[in-house]
Symmetry: C2
Subunit: 357 residues, 2 copies
């Protein structure tokens, strides 16, 4: 598999050896009582991660599968969804809703900008009711963290029947997210982002209200039938064979996060963002996100300001690191440093020093 550069891309993220070693464990059956207990324990720890006393579970699938599950379970066929879009991943979620036979509408801001709760209020008060509002908490393509608490509060206030569906793929375990306090209904993430595990599982939290809604929706499928999946997984009995080694690794990582504490983990991510920004300004790079409050603590998108992004990436590679050369339209114009997961300041500083002109 050749040389391994330390990953500072926005996922998959660098995985500690202690967690990777678990991946090599001898297999056991997924109905083995020892594994059943692990699945139950993981569900309980996921509730702590999402800060919910409602429901949490996981699936052996990419987070994209949970986008589809959210649409098929929480929005009736032909029902309307309102997508808060400001980049590639928000756009993609709207496409998924359409591919599942729903009617997505889009409320868009320019790339690099946060959504304004007042604009959402105007839309929800002036427009037709929607079954759900879909928010990409952290837009990975541009490094914008949306003001999720304020946006969710507007939904609760203006259209109390609309569910709040949150793509938390690159926020959970890296940025503050309070499922119950903020009145969210469905939030999900893959393991290969702020959880700093290999890809292969997607975790989620779901509200009582959302499960009640799902029970009324037809043709929601089998594997991702949320009411059944939540119940069975919390009983330790997944509907299909899960990726056993990765579930063990997830359990260990959730224990480690509890030791670090969630608050300290959010703070550490914020410090990595701040250090990256200070370095960028010093080096003459511009943060792609102008608004201080909207800058993601998990991924920094930096306008190269005319610098050669390929040369930057090469300098990183020569020092044993990998960064990202910009997503979609920003390729070659902006670069991204994914400082999510288990990175610490020393490792980030080593990257930034190597990149300095």
């Amino acid at each position: 598999m050749g040389d391994h550069p330390v990953l500072f891309i926005p996922g998959p993220t660098e995985v500690d050896l202690a967690l990777r070693e678990i991946m090599a464990m001898p297999l056991l059956g997924h109905r083995d009582p020892r594994f059943v207990a692990v699945v139950q324990d993981v569900c309980q720890r996921l509730r702590a991660l999402y800060l919910t006393t409602q429901h949490a579970a996981f699936e052996t699938a990419p987070a994209t599968a949970l986008m589809e599950a959210a649409v098929r379970n929480l929005v009736p066929r032909g029902g309307a969804t309102l997508h808060l879009v400001g980049g590639a991943f928000g756009e993609r979620f709207a496409k998924i809703a359409k591919a599942c036979g729903r009617r997505p509408e889009v409320l868009e801001v320019a790339m690099g900008q946060a959504h304004d709760p007042a604009a959402l209020r105007a839309r929800l008060q002036g427009g037709a009711p929607v079954a759900a509002v879909v928010i990409t908490h952290n837009e990975t393509s541009t490094g914008v963290l949306q003001p999720l608490a304020a946006l969710a509060a507007v939904v609760r206030e203006c259209q109390p029947d609309a569910l709040v569906i949150v793509d938390a793929v690159t926020s959970v375990a890296g940025a503050e997210l309070r499922f119950d306090d903020w009145g969210l209904d469905f939030a999900f993430a893959g393991t290969q982002k702020c959880l700093a595990l290999p890809p292969g599982l997607a975790t989620y939290a779901v509200s009582e209200r959302a499960l009640a809604r799902a029970a009324e929706v037809e043709e929601r499928g089998f594997l991702f039938d949320l009411p059944k999946a939540v119940k069975d997984t919390n009983a330790g009995k997944t509907l299909a064979t899960p990726c056993v080694p990765l579930v063990y690794a997830l359990q260990r990582q959730l224990e480690r996060i509890e030791l670090e504490t969630l608050e300290q983990r959010w703070r550490r991510h914020g410090e990595l963002r701040d250090a990256t920004l200070a370095w960028a300004i010093e080096q003459g790079f511009l943060p792609f996100v102008a608004d201080d409050a909207a800058r993601s603590p998990t991924v920094s998108c930096l306008d190269a300001n005319g610098a050669d992004v390929d040369a930057l990436a090469k300098r990183a590679a020569d020092a044993g690191f990998k960064l990202d050369k910009g997503y979609g339209d920003l390729k070659g114009k902006a670069f991204r440093i994914g400082h999510m997961g288990d990175h610490d300041r020393a490792r980030l500083d080593a990257l930034l020093t190597a990149l300095a002109r």
Copy 2:
């Protein structure tokens, strides 16, 4: 994770250390050219595994997700499917079709019996047209291998427009399956069965005809949109982040299977079945499957004939092995020995010796 008994259950199967070690590899990005090449190589090797020159690919998901994908892609909403049922997994597939808003009909045989091509012919000639016939190649709950070639030929003959969808979860890489020669349209399997890898991926083959049909079906979703998934995966660009370490392990295992040769691998599985049967008869256990030709080469279901199944399982455990105590209604009455994957005769003999009265 405690003591590890060698797994002789019908999945997950025992995984060689050489493959498990790959699971602990340092991560790399899924858009890294090195990984893109691995994904393309895996797709090509999967075509060899399924014996097709048409299309093959994989998803990061349980095989159950591909049952749902098959229904949502290959059968229009409200369309009819005919399920050849003879046990728990065939029944479950019919439930999945219903949960996706299709109209499943069932052609049933008693548990432990093979389907009769003549009965299928009578049903297809006498009944309404169906969009697809769904066959569980190897019914894991009872250890029956269906005469897939003959059944598929009947479909082709009687209803040439019906697609043949095959649950090959516990057959591919353990029992003969010839995708092109037998005129199949969609076949799939998880990695944790005859491929002897950890669970987490599902592989599949799909025909040109099936992809053309899918292109006409609406609301087939995003992640499991087969025409797009096949095209993107074969170009090395999965639609979402795959379980990178497991894809590497799959590549290695497909190389190993090519070295063993597929024919020898089928033969080895057949020999393990024959050895298990000879031992069972000697020990006074009855094969649950009466018909010689229908006995699965990957899992043997044995009527305990009054013996205490718990005591048998304990004897296996004391010797460092795990067998299965019977599925569903057969629990405690029949036991199953899963001899699929990388097991050899010496290891099976060690188990059988430990179990001998």
